[in-house]
Every structure is written in C-alpha cells, then in structure tokens.
Symmetry: C2
Amino acid sequence: MPKVGMQPIRRRQLIEATLEAIDEVGLADATIARIARHAGVSTGIISHYFDGKDGLLEATMRHILGDLGSAVSERRRTLGEAPPQAHLHAIIDGNFDRSQTSRSVMKTWLAFWASSMHHTNLQRLQRVNDRRLYSNLSSQFRRVLPKRQARDAARGLAALIDGLWLRGALAQEGLDVDRARQLAYDYVREQLDTPQRTQRRTSDYA
Amino acid sequence: MPKVGMQPIRRRQLIEATLEAIDEVGLADATIARIARHAGVSTGIISHYFDGKDGLLEATMRHILGDLGSAVSERRRTLGEAPPQAHLHAIIDGNFDRSQTSRSVMKTWLAFWASSMHHTNLQRLQRVNDRRLYSNLSSQFRRVLPKRQARDAARGLAALIDGLWLRGALAQEGLDVDRARQLAYDYVREQLDTPQRTQRRTSDYA
DNA sequence: ATTTTTTTATTGAACGGTCAATCAACAAAA
DNA sequence: TTTTGTTGATTGACCGTTCAATAAAAAAAT
C-alpha cells in the first residue's frame, strides 16, 4: 500500500473525514478514533500528518476558509469595474456557495465559531475572515454612499448574511439558499436606492 | 451550614457558575469540578440538584431563554394596540437586553447553538425560541404588509438580529448595542416604508 | 427544656470509562 | 538498504458519577 506522495492525499482525506465526523456527532464527540475510522486509516496517522488533533482541526478550518475565499474571488474575477451592485451580489453568492452550505460545513462552521472564543489559533483565522467580508462590502458601498452610510450598510449586510446562514444551519428544514440570497439582494437594493438620509447618531428612540 | 430551602439558592448559584466557567474556558472545558469551584461547593452537589452535568447545562439554557422571554414581554406589555413599529422595536430591544448581551451569556449562547445540533434537548429549546422570534416579527409585519412581504421581512429581521448578535459575540471589541439596535430599526423602517413591490419569486439573477 | 430521631444538605475519595498521544514494529516502494 | 507510510496496543491524564460518611437543622419525643 504505502507509496510515495501520500501526504496531500491523506491530508485531504482526513479533513473530509473530520467534516463527516463533526456532521455525525459534533465537534465534542469527534474523537480521533472516529475521524480515523471515517477516513479508513489508523489513529496514528493523524499525529503523523497534522501534529495532533488540534492541527487537524485548524487545517480543517483553513480548508473551509480557503473554499470560501475561492468561491468569492472566482465570482468577482471577471467583474472589473462593474457597478457596486454586481460586486455585492458576487460576494453574497460566494458566501452562499455550495461549498459553504452543505450540512457538514455549516455544522463545522458553527462549532468553530464557538471554539474560536477560546482557541487563539482559530480566533485569528475567524477574525481575518470576518474583517475581509466587512471590508469587501464596505469598499463597494463606499463607491456610491457617503462614509458613514457605507459603513452601516456593510455592517448590516455582513450581519444579514451571517444571520441567514446561522438560522439556516439551525433550522430543521435547512437553509433555503435562493431565498436567503434574495433577502440579501433586497437589502443591497434598499441600501443603494434609499436617498441619502440625514445623518443620524446612535439615538435613543424607544 | 445546612439549612432548609437551599435548593433554589444552589440552583441559581450553579447556573451562574456555569456561565462564568463557560466564559472563562468554554463549554468544552467547563468541567463540573471547575463549575463547582466557581460556586464554592463540591462536585457532588451538581448531581444532587441537577441530576448530572447535562441537567445543569439544560437548566442554564432554560434560564437564559427565560430571561430573553421576560426582556421581550416586559417591553411589549404596555404597548397594546400600538403600531407595528413600536412592537417591532420592543422585540428588537428585548433581544439586545442587558441580560442577553453580557460576554458570558453571548459565549454561552454560541456554545449552546453548536451543541444543539447534536443534543435533542437543547435543540428543542433552541427551536422553540427561533420560531417564537420569527412568528412575533411576522405577525407584526402582517398588520401592514401583504403575506409574502411580511414573511420575508420577518425572516430578514430575524436573521439581522441574530447576525448582529453573532458578529458582536465574535468581535474583539464586543457588541455595540446601540449601533446594532439602530441597524435593526433601519431595517424595520425600510420594510414598513418601502412601497408594495411587485411580487418576485426566487429568481436567478446573477 | 432537654434529648432523640428524622430530614435535608454537603462532602470528596474511589471507580469506571474515555481520550489523545506515543512509539516500537512492520510493510512496501524507492 | 534506505526511505516513506502505516499500524494499533499502551500509557498517562482527566472526567462525570456514585455513594458512604458527616454535619447541622428541624421535628418529635421525653
């Protein structure tokens, strides 16, 4: 069996197995024994290729983040100077790409979010991602909106995307991708169409 | 030390200690030894009052859900026939109540969300809550919007609330409650102001 | 009022079980 | 023969639960 050049194969295999295990029993019960079984290998392999369980989990998160990055940039690649709306739609579509909306990936995302509160490695990865989403959105809105309004629109849209995604992950019936994208598109349109409002500061109307 | 009528005191104590432990090290490392230490009692007490760790965790989630329910209904109690906007703002404010926006509670919510994917007890509690939020929002929007539009507005606002809340939990700088509420208010206003649009179905514009 | 009994509250050591990591041994290709 | 890949039993650490023992208050009996 043992050939040369197994490393990339095994790594992909084990990351996939990790997603399956988390989908099956959750991160808390995704033991290395279970993950190894999913991949059809022995437990020792994990330490061999990932320096232990933590390394595998971090690699799994990096893998998902990589897919997300690709999904977004592929869609934006050909857009060039297209209007902000086109870029914003592409970012939305990328975030609701098939690679991000499978049950196992959504469950894993959720688990990593919770973990990232206490593991600085995961926290770093997650924050880079959050900021990238916000800054991408923000710079597109900025092309047609004044600074403060662009900032708020970006914050709102980022929250809306994550929220739709989160509620889809938790819902019994799963995430309805088309409907979610539509709601996000609507938000974009309203932000772009709404006439410049008078500046508001954090107010206290109840 | 032992007096009569300790049960409610200890239960509150242990739930509070659970929140502190989760805030400190996360759900995964919130051992009963650590929780007991936070509460200043021995480990045995937990099984005595909660029938084991799972019981304590479920009680903790129920406690947070109870606070959320109170926060919302207190704000709506006096509103009666007030316009939908007032009710919607009250629901928003309730969801961003102080009891729901402390660091320990936000971390705990996040941990429970992830857990609820695999523990049917927590899943049930979480779904009841999700549906309540959606149906409260939906019935208010329904007072002034046609069915489909009301449904979409409710879905969007629910997602926006959860998303703002989620991003606040994950962000380094924490949740800016005033700003979050403002963004949610804006969404409400846009949904209520926007002239009745032509009906759209799930479309495929890219 | 005093003693005895019962009830309620609490402790923490001991137990059984699980898990991640290690590493000596093995196998097949180079 | 060397390198690369793989195994899986062993090990040490840790965790939740249990339960016999203890202590103090409350209730009952004297």
